[in-house]
Symmetry: C2
Subunit: 350 residues, 2 copies
DNA sequence: CTGAAAGCGCTTACAG
DNA sequence: CTGAAAGCGCTTACAG
């Protein structure tokens, strides 16, 4: 926490006349502070004449309410925190965008945080939420075991998004296992047999997407060779590139690759190109997330789509409800997904 | 502004015992509130024994300070706002990421906002900053004429980033004209003559990049045909796609295309592919920003690079200095750029 | 419709 | 080293 002089100063660029308070406005308008407050917040009806006098004083003094004071009094800051693993990914950025837009429509500001899946950051953020600077928290934990959200912990109003779920908090997510199963089933159905999965890590999302990958194989009576489950810790373009380049250095190219994010898929396409392999002629590629780049990838990416705006809206609704009533029953909501087929996969059916 | 019950409740998931205050901790430890405050903030030395008693009470009550109260008292919230035109772009996301990370290292939270280049949003944000919920504001205005930051206005501590500059506020930016001139000069130098520019809009960044485009031509003794300055309002993949597709429907393909962002460049490559044109064999492409996708584009994109982390750090330093001293002289800092050459351009020199 | 009092939870002088 | 008082700027009861 930084220290600073308890300044109230805030002035015209350069100068520093002290900021006017409610009392200053009241004095100037010849009314009480309460009346000014009533005018500003429409808390109680104010006579036309008084309102005009107050309005004038408000403008003349360029009054802006002190939200810290209001927050202290009301027990609300009208600010929420949204904590995502990592903003640098297109996926997180899109999610953040929807949260900021939708929260803004409700008059709520969004403090954005990155956790990098680290438990200590999560704990810190929960604290900050408890510290009442924010009214609540949207949290996307990465690993179940290391998540700060565990049974028995004291929680501020919090809604979890993503794959990690604890029955002590509200939750919005997508059926990752089902989505991965479906998109891999599509690859199998198109005649691909030697299918690789890129993105194996300890993250819960990786676990679920890998499970879907395996289930699709099992359902088709196929077995998965372990080397085809390619690890990749960095779920970004560079990670996908290195994972696939490394694989190609030691193995025959697969028929198809299921990348656990579109970002990795784009890196994978690049690695294939570097190895002289064409998509989809030589290798088919499927992604996950349907970020905007997926549509303009070369070739356009087949991927898992879901309504990110809806995800954000649902999470915000749950959070608002939780802020209003900490004792309400825990709720878990699922957002539907769909498979978007584009040119990155071809049929191998003869 | 939302209304809510002035609740102080915040409890174990489900229950709602009131949150302990400094006074509760003091009572339990048998000391004064001031002493507890001293322990927490290390404001004054506290005897070993007292400190242990206070620490125990702190833990037993699971005390978390109320930051609204602290903010009211200190005149600081340790929260800043960062307002970018649009988070959904990879460029903005990367910038936001650096601001959040670096501000976090200084113990500052970041409230992220999107302005969409709208002046009323900018005004609103400046107000919010003045409302003391945030200590200061990093703002990226889009158009000079419509920016809320104008001479004579009362400003909270604010640092401008990007192309729009007003001499009444600190500013960090990149020499857009020079960068654009250099990358277009590279295209000309490689033998390209019919060069298109994609992204003409009323935004200040478009104006400057177009100016660089023209200057490069002028320096080489070339003239620019007006139809080669292709308008594109949406600076994203879709915008670039439509702009180039539309151009190709009515004109011969150019030798090369300078896209004013990498995102548009990626869309442009897609549009060229759809028209049966290869990059760089048929058309060379250059972008701007060096977002991570640029490296994994197909082919990898030649683009303008600059240190986004450094940009963020400089802006944060200026903001901190401004918060500490509203009267200090206005400062403007330039971040250097460089041209990153990748496979998206080829030589046409015979 | 309007006002005077009290207090949200903290920290800064000021005493001891 | 520790405490009692005062106040940051607002809003909620409570009176009139």
């Amino acid at each position: 926490m930084r220290k600073g002089p308890g300044t109230n100063g805030q002035g015209v660029a350069g100068s520093s006349r002290p900021r006017p308070t409610l009392r200053d406005v009241a004095l100037r308008a010849g009314v009480s502070a309460k009346t000014v407050s009533n005018v500003i917040n429409r808390t109680a009806p104010v006579s036309e004449e008084t309102r005009l006098r107050v309005d004038r004083a408000l403008v003349e003094l360029d009054y802006v309410p002190n939200l810290s004071a209001r927050g202290l009094r009301n027990g609300r800051s009208d600010l929420i925190a949204v904590a995502l693993p990592d903003l640098a990914s297109a996926y997180s950025a899109e999610i953040a965008h929807h949260f900021i837009t939708l929260a803004g429509e409700d008059g709520l500001g969004v403090q954005l945080e990155e956790t990098y899946g680290k438990a200590d950051r999560e704990i810190q953020l929960l604290s900050r939420a408890k510290a009442h600077l924010v009214d609540g928290l949207i949290l996307n934990p990465v690993r179940l075991e290391t998540s700060a959200v565990q049974r028995g912990i004291v929680l501020p109003p919090v809604v979890l998004i993503g794959e990690v779920h604890q029955p002590i908090a509200d939750h919005v997510w997508i059926d990752n296992v089902g989505a991965s199963r479906d998109i891999v089933a599509l690859l199998i159905n198109e005649g691909h047999r030697r299918i690789a999965a890129v993105g194996a890590t300890k993250a819960e999302s990786a676990r679920q997407r890998l499970q879907g990958f395996r289930e699709a194989h099992a359902a088709a009576g196929l077995s998965v060779r372990p080397e085809l489950e390619i690890p990749c810790v960095n779920w970004d373009g560079g990670g996908g590139y290195r994972a696939v380049a490394g694989f190609l250095a030691e193995h025959e190219p697969p028929d198809a690759i299921f990348c656990m994010t579109d970002a990795m898929a784009i890196g994978a396409i690049s690695a294939l190109a570097a190895a002289g392999l064409r998509v989809p002629d030589d290798v088919s590629i499927a992604g996950y997330d349907n970020v905007w780049e997926a549509r303009f990838a070369h070739p356009p990416l087949t991927t898992v789509d879901f309504d990110k705006r809806r995800l954000a809206r649902l999470a915000l609704e749950l959070l608002s409800a939780r802020i209003d009533d900490t004792a309400r029953p825990i709720q878990s909501v699922t957002v539907p997904y769909s498979i978007v087929r584009r040119d990155s996969i071809r049929s191998r059916r003869s």
